[in-house]
């Protein structure tokens, strides 16, 4: 069968041990498929060419069936299918059996970003940093709708379901930066719900984990950071720009018309409310689809966002 490190089957480079097993199994399936296709399609083309009509009086044999042949071509595929099934089971078992010594990271999904929370409270939106050769277990849940955590390089994927926890684990063997997709349809910006996994050395990781993410940043800079990971999908900065949510240009202090009548002046409290209870007041012309930020952002970050919005003229 094909060799373990098959990048030739168009898969991205395999970065975990399990990924290599997936590739081997995939290689087997490809070859089995190829042979069956050649048999069926080849046979078809050959017969079609060889027995094309000579004239209206062609004599054709009357072959109603052939039990031995029919048994063969049911039984051989059956055996192949069973091999595929059992092998698939084994690989699946590896993908879904969680090593006990894993480093656990919480993953919160919401429209349309990922937030990773480490055991020490360090939060990181859209970027998961992990040490190389370390078992990592991600415990995931969603705030709103279904999402799916998909890392092609690890050949692993798991839906993230609101109201409960699901998990994936991996052990990355190569340093590098790997793409994460959201693979379960989740609305307008499903295609933009991306993240990266940075696999770094143990030392780099320890250092990263202990740094304060906002160290030395002014509140407005903190806010900008959050904006560019969590809000940018729905809120633009150009005046009049209409994404899923209203633009932030000149937002602070302006008077906003609300859905169902009434107006409100945008001040600190209103912004805070918009973030924590987004459906309390809905801006005219929009729908109440903004996910709540409560539990996602702490007080320092909320204050940062408010400061940042003030700077947008």
């Amino acid at each position: 069968m094909s060799s373990a490190s098959t990048t030739s089957v168009f898969m991205p480079p395999a970065v975990t041990e399990v990924a290599k097993n997936v590739d081997t199994l995939y290689g087997f399936l490809l070859i089995a498929s190829l042979i069956s296709c050649i048999l069926v399609i080849g046979g078809l083309i050959y017969f079609a060419m060889k027995y094309r009509r000579q004239g209206d009086n062609d004599k054709v044999p009357y072959i109603s069936h052939n039990t031995a042949l029919e048994f063969l071509w049911s039984f051989i595929p059956f055996v192949i299918f069973m091999v595929a099934f059992v092998w698939g089971w084994v690989v699946y078992y590896q993908l879904r059996t969680f090593p006990v010594d894993s480093m656990e990271v919480m993953v919160n999904a919401q429209k349309w970003n990922w937030v990773f929370t480490y055991k020490n409270g360090r939060k990181s939106p859209a970027l998961l940093t992990v040490p190389v050769n370390q078992n990592v277990k991600l415990i995931m849940t969603s705030k709103d709708v279904l999402h799916s955590f998909f890392i092609p390089a690890f050949r692993n994927k798991q839906d993230v379901v609101p109201g409960r926890y699901t998990a994936v684990w991996f052990n990355a063997e190569k340093l590098g930066s790997y793409q994460v997709f959201c693979a379960e349809y989740c609305g307008d910006n499903h295609a933009g719900m991306l993240a990266k996994i940075d696999v770094v050395t143990r030392a780099e990781f320890d250092q990263w984990l202990s740094t304060e993410p906002y160290k030395g940043l002014a509140p407005a800079q903190i806010g900008q950071k959050i904006y560019s990971t969590s809000c940018i999908a729905c809120h633009g900065l150009a005046p009049g720009e209409k994404k899923t949510g209203p633009t932030f240009a000149g937002i602070f202090g302006k008077t906003e018309e609300l859905e169902g009548g009434g107006t409100v002046t945008v001040d600190e409290n209103y912004i805070r409310e918009s973030m924590m209870l987004p459906n309390a007041k809905i801006v005219k012309g929009f729908q109440g689809v903004m996910p709540t930020q409560s539990g996602q952002l702490d007080d320092e970050e909320v204050a940062g966002v408010i400061e940042y919005l003030k700077t947008l003229k």
Binding site: G163, R164, Y165, T166, A167
Partner: protein, 102 residues
């Protein structure tokens, strides 16, 4: 292809007896629900309901005298439901990470 079968006529008495049985069973099921049999409650209630259903099917809907194919049709539908139930429950019962928020 018509079967031209004789269509059986069920005597009136049978109909009235069946209604009697159904009413008695209704009383029994209500009475049984007053008593607490623990786990058995559901099974008893559904058991009695199934007896009633069987009576309705056999006599009122005269399956007893009709083409047996109709039992097959009916049974297939019930079987389909059992399949839906069995596999959904199989999934729900064997989820390990499940932590309900409620």
């Amino acid at each position: 292809m018509s079967s031209g079968s004789e269509h059986h006529v069920i005597p009136l008495k049978v109909y009235f007896n069946v209604l009697g049985a159904l009413l008695v069973l209704t009383v029994i099921t209500v009475a049984a629900a007053r008593v607490d049999f623990g786990q058995m409650n559901t099974i008893i209630a559904l058991g009695i309901a199934s007896i009633k259903a069987f009576l309705v099917l056999s006599y009122f809907m005269h399956l007893k005298y009709d083409d047996k194919t109709f039992w097959v049709i009916f049974g297939t539908a019930i079987f389909g439901l059992l399949v839906l139930y069995f596999f959904s429950e199989l999934d729900i019962m064997t989820r390990v990470l499940e932590i309900n928020v409620l």
